[in-house]
């Protein structure tokens, strides 16, 4: 098996990396301030589309400063136990063989947010670590990363420019002593859409398949570029509504539900009055089609859902907006709020369930009357319902806060 070209020609020095100067400067600055204990954050989060050099940057940093790179591929470490085992010792002891250690958590997108506690553990680790940490990810705007984003210095990596990719391809061909037509090389560079690794893989498949003549441009899979959500929103909210508007999300690698949440959050900052009502009317109609897709499995309705989410919202604007003006789009918070509420409600739910079973009533009604129930239940009935210690504590706390909140304690003094 041949080594992938992308591995074989991975840069070893910062000077060999092309087109990411800004990111390199920020990475160096982070490392220096960490060592001088000036860094506000202990981890740096390199994010950007695939094949832009995130992992490479971490490797090069380690080589340049002669630190040991302790690498974790997060996709392989999906559970807390493993993260514990591998990450914890490295943060608590100093490296034996080199000046120091850098921890690399590669492809953080693969870490689960809740089930095994992967992200929670990672965040705990950032708080504890004595070594600088480098984390890479493609899409950091997912809800699950909100806490991680706060804990890290954020550095965006841009797609590698077409000219740079073409230049690198030419250099490598020369080193490999191979020949490929310039036109084909150009088309590889163009189709990679800024993903250098993809370009190199395509090049490899061309030069090591002896029958170059049969090479078809279609073989180079159309690389979807991750045009980020901000651009899409700018497109929707600020640009003229044209046929292209309906393609606004084609390159956004995000579920439609998530996109809809972004829109919902940001419509009121862009639109007011009639525009606002029209935009929400469009969002509402998109949601109706989504409901129909779910219920009837009629997937063609996605066309209409997308239409309302793009052109529908874009055309809601009647007051001309300045396409050049800058809006800082907010990320959606609704799902997080619901999630946090559910966490709070989880204990309430288990208590209501036990109460419902004991009193021949429905859980729904028990939840509805929980205010009264929490006052009614005492130690003895808690025993009858077989409440756990945590459930009892929860009740006790709630009971006290209810009494204070509604000024009920003033009645307590009286005796019959």
């Amino acid at each position: 098996m041949t080594t992938p070209l992308s591995e074989k020609y991975r840069p070893n020095k910062f000077s060999e990396i092309m087109g990411q100067n800004l990111a390199i400067d920020k990475l160096k600055a982070f490392f220096n301030s960490f060592n001088m204990k000036l860094a506000k954050k202990k981890a740096i989060l390199l994010y950007g589309p695939p094949g832009t050099g995130k992992t490479t940057l971490a490797h090069v940093l380690a080589k340049e400063v002669e630190y040991e790179l302790f690498e974790l591929n997060a996709s392989d470490l999906r559970n807390r136990a493993k993260l514990d085992e591998i990450l914890k010792p490295s943060t608590l002891q100093k490296s034996l063989f080199s000046k120091g250690k850098i921890i690399l958590v590669d492809e953080a997108d693969g870490i689960t947010s809740t089930e095994y506690g992967g992200l929670a553990e990672l965040i705990a680790l950032i708080e504890k670590t004595k070594f600088p940490m480098v984390i890479t990810a493609n899409d950091i705007w997912q809800q699950k990363f909100s806490l991680l984003r706060q804990k890290c210095e954020l550095v965006a990596l841009k797609e590698v420019r077409y000219e740079i990719i073409l230049e690198i391809l030419k250099e490598i061909l020369e080193k490999e002593v191979k020949n490929v037509e310039l036109d084909l090389l150009k088309s590889i560079a163009a189709k990679s859409r800024g993903d250098l690794r993809a370009a190199l893989n395509d090049l490899q498949s061309v030069i090591y398949n002896n029958n170059i003549g049969e090479f078809n441009e279609k073989d180079i899979g159309e690389r979807e570029k991750n045009l980020d959500i901000f651009n899409a929103m700018k497109n929707i909210f600020k640009c003229k509504t044209t046929k292209e508007t309906t393609e606004a999300y084609d390159n956004v690698q995000m579920e439609t539900d998530q996109i809809s949440l972004w829109l919902e959050k940001n419509i009121p900052t862009e639109y007011h009055g009639e525009d606002l009502a029209r935009a929400f009317e469009a969002l509402s109609k998109a949601d109706i089609f989504k409901g129909r897709i779910y219920r009837q499995q009629h997937w063609r309705f996605m066309e209409y859902q997308n239409f309302f989410l793009t052109a529908g919202i874009s055309a809601a604007r009647r007051i001309k907006s300045n396409a050049e003006s800058f809006t800082k789009y907010q990320q959606p918070t609704r799902i997080l709020k619901i999630w946090m509420n559910n966490q709070n409600n989880a204990r309430k739910k288990t208590i209501a369930e036990k109460y419902a079973e004991y009193t021949h009533t429905s859980r729904k009604r028990a939840m509805k009357d929980f205010f009264l129930i929490s006052l009614i239940l005492n130690n003895e009935s808690a025993k009858k319902l077989d409440l756990s210690e945590q459930e009892k504590d929860f009740l006790e706390e709630r009971k006290n806060s209810l009494r204070v909140m509604h000024g009920l304690n003033r009645f307590a003094e009286k005796k019959v």
Binding site: S260, F280, R334, T361, D369, L372, I376, M405, L408, V416
Partner: protein
Amino acid sequence: METNHSSNIWTEKYRPSNFEDVFGQDEIVKRVKNLVGSINIPHMLFSGPAGIGKSTLAIIVAKELFKEFWKENYLELNASDARGIDVIRQEVKNFARTKSLGSVPFKIIFLDEADALTKEAQHALRRTMENYTGTCRFVLSCNYSSKIIDPIQSRCVVFRFKLLEKKDVAKVILKIAEKEGLKIDDRAIQVLYEGSEGDCRRAINLLQASASISPIITEEIINILLSSAKPKDIRVVLDYALAGDFEKAREKLLDVMLKESISGTDVIKAIQKEVWNLDVEPHIKVKLTEKTGEIEFRLVEGSDEFVQLQALLASFVLVGLGKN
């Protein structure tokens, strides 16, 4: 019955355990008692609002029929909690598989809140009822018998429970107050009855919650409990919207929905009622109500309640702007 009397939850402790103790449903009690006396009881449908004795009567039927074996021969399911009709059928199947204990040749399955089942699920239930007629009798309860499909109604003897009158609820309350050493006056009983809307379970819960604060039950305490237990913030949401502050309105709406764990449909109902109290011209109220109805329809068709409710808020904002 022996366990119930030591219970600290009064709705259980004072749940009647024989026909004579049931208040306010004399006619029904007489008929059911006769059926139980003849041993061969039919399927039954208990219909009526919450907290008037439907579950209680079902339990008494089981106790009178099976005596010491009542717990073995009685299965209670709640249709609004069970996840779908398949779960219910599975539980029925497991329960009906074994023969009844004792001399009565069948078991009793009590399916509470059967009107929470969809039409399709009710048809499946009908088949289940037929399959196990040899070994089981079904007692179904519902708030509205109109929500139960005809084929099921025709297989059941239907009992329509009356809303409890004030004197019946008062009798229960006074009995409990006496046993628990509480002091309560007529005014407090009146508020208790009105606040619980004839729902005896709720009246007892209110009484016990008040008693957990003070043994002297006053109108004032009950009123505090009543107002704290009722969501009242929908008006605030609408006021923000009419004043043009869309973001505040929706933030408040989400808070209310999460805090009170109420559904989108509940919100719509509350909004629809509140529209008449708003300070706008009648023709605008008509427009808002039309929009509210449209959104209620969309809640059924769509997938994300909160998106639909925001659309409604946006149209309230628009109306608010036109007003000024």
